[in-house]
């Protein structure tokens, strides 16, 4: 199944017509950055803003974002994301969101677009195990793009 999907993704990229996303294992990182969209499509910044606060995104659990200050309880574990688009390129932001460990090997930040290489992976938050073959990334390729499109709007005042 995976092979089929990967093959499809490759075909899609080659044709650049069908928007089959790049599979996690096929993402190419260059110094931690990902050059192009994982889906071949632009992200939706409104959905990106929502993902900052909920679901498997939940970025503000660890990062403070002044533009989202109406939301309660921003964390302090990671750096503030204010001005992030002035510190990093789009490709770097995409790479950090997809798998920050490519750029910062020791970072505490989870890898949001990876589906292999975990120790005792579980079935979401049930505490039960999962067949590694059934593991899906924390975010979909389009959700990564949505977050990137939101994050590039964050500038210093």
């Amino acid at each position: 199944m995976r092979v089929t999907l990967t093959a499809l993704a490759t075909l899609a990229l080659a044709g650049a017509a069908l928007a089959e996303p790049v599979a996690p294992m096929d993402v190419v990182y260059e110094d931690g950055a990902i050059a192009g969209s994982l889906t071949g499509m632009a992200g939706d910044p409104d959905n990106g803003a929502k993902l900052m606060n909920k679901g498997a995104g939940n970025c503000i659990a660890c990062h403070q974002v002044t533009a989202l200050e109406t939301l309660p309880f921003h964390g302090e574990i990671g750096p503030s994301l204010d001005g992030v688009s002035e510190r990093w390129s789009v490709a770097e932001i995409r790479g950090i969101v997809a798998n920050a460990k490519e750029m910062f090997p020791e970072t505490m930040m989870p890898s949001f677009y990876r589906d292999t290489g975990f120790i005792r992976p579980g079935k979401a938050y049930t505490g039960k195990g999962i067949d590694p073959a059934e593991l899906t990334p924390l975010l979909t390729a389009q959700e990564i793009e949505d977050l990137v499109s939101y994050l590039i709007t964050l500038k210093y005042e």
Partner: protein, 280 residues
């Protein structure tokens, strides 16, 4: 009257205190106006990355802290009373209670401070000790690990050591278990790839969403957790933390959690036993 005074004094403290939650606060824990607790001390020599250890009490809000400074306010004490009833209750085929052999529970003073420890070649945690005696001396059925009877008894025995410094042994026959626990402490489990150390060593004092991260000390367990409104066992808390890394967790009462308990307890060495503590 005491409640009103306490609430009043906390209001004053709140006004004077810095608004931002960050590192452990400066509050001093004295229980029942007489028992001075050590909530901050030099880290034991085996801890390589931390200089000072702090009780989780120092990371909690004034409102939560207040519940632990007076046994009449401490909701865990209801369960300790239940533990005392169980201590005196006959159970099992031998017609015995705990009190039949251990006349006075006060004789357990100091025991909890050294647990877990190796006995007869096996790493034994308090729940093992209790169920072992129930089976061998009383002919009684084992209690469920995190069940109310078991945790009431663990809390009752733990309370006999309250105020004494945690002092678990990590060398000699304990060493292999301790090494296993340490390895687990630094392993980044689950799809979120988080180790105990990521939050409780590298990030204590910081906010993760609405939670103020402590050092994850276990010197106050079993702990009355307000959000669950009951006594929570150490292994239950371990299980919850590992589950929250999107991992396949370990079972309560597993050898893995025994080893982790020994290691984490050893990181509390020097802090006062607070059992039963109150947390958020």
């Amino acid at each position: 009257m005491r409640t009103i005074l306490t609430a009043g004094s906390f209001a004053v403290v709140a006004l004077l205190a810095a608004p931002a939650l960050a590192d452990p606060d400066e509050d001093n824990l004295v229980i029942n106006d007489e028992l001075q607790m050590v909530t901050e001390t030099a880290a034991p020599a085996h801890m390589e990355h931390v200089d000072t250890i702090y009780s989780g009490w120092r990371f909690r809000t004034d409102e939560t802290q207040a519940l632990q400074i007076d046994d009449f306010e401490n909701p865990a004490m209801i369960f300790v009373d239940q533990g005392m009833d169980l201590f005196n209750s006959v159970d099992g085929t031998e017609g015995k209670s705990c009190a039949s052999c251990h006349e006075d529970v006060a004789a357990f003073a100091g025991f909890h401070a050294e647990m877990p420890k190796v006995m007869n070649g096996k790493l034994v945690v308090m729940e093992d000790f209790i169920n072992g005696h129930r089976a061998r001396a009383m002919g009684a059925e084992p209690w469920k690990w995190s069940g109310p009877e078991m945790q009431a008894m663990v809390a009752l025995i733990g309370l006999q050591s309250r105020g004494m410094p945690m002092n678990v042994k990590i060398d000699g026959d304990a060493a292999p278990y301790w090494e296993q626990g340490k390895e687990m402490y630094y392993t980044r489990y689950g799809q979120l790839e988080l180790s105990c150390a990521n939050c409780h060593e590298d990030s204590y004092g910081l906010m993760i969403r609405a939670d103020h991260l402590s050092q994850g000390q276990i010197n106050g367990f079993p702990t009355y957790r307000l959000k669950q409104a009951k006594l929570i066992s150490r292994h239950n808390r371990f299980r919850g933390c590992i589950r929250d890394t999107r991992a396949e967790t370990f079972a309560e009462g597993s050898d893995e959690f025994r080893a982790l308990e020994l290691y984490v307890a050893s990181r509390s060495n020097g802090l006062s036993v607070e059992t039963p503590a109150v947390r958020q």
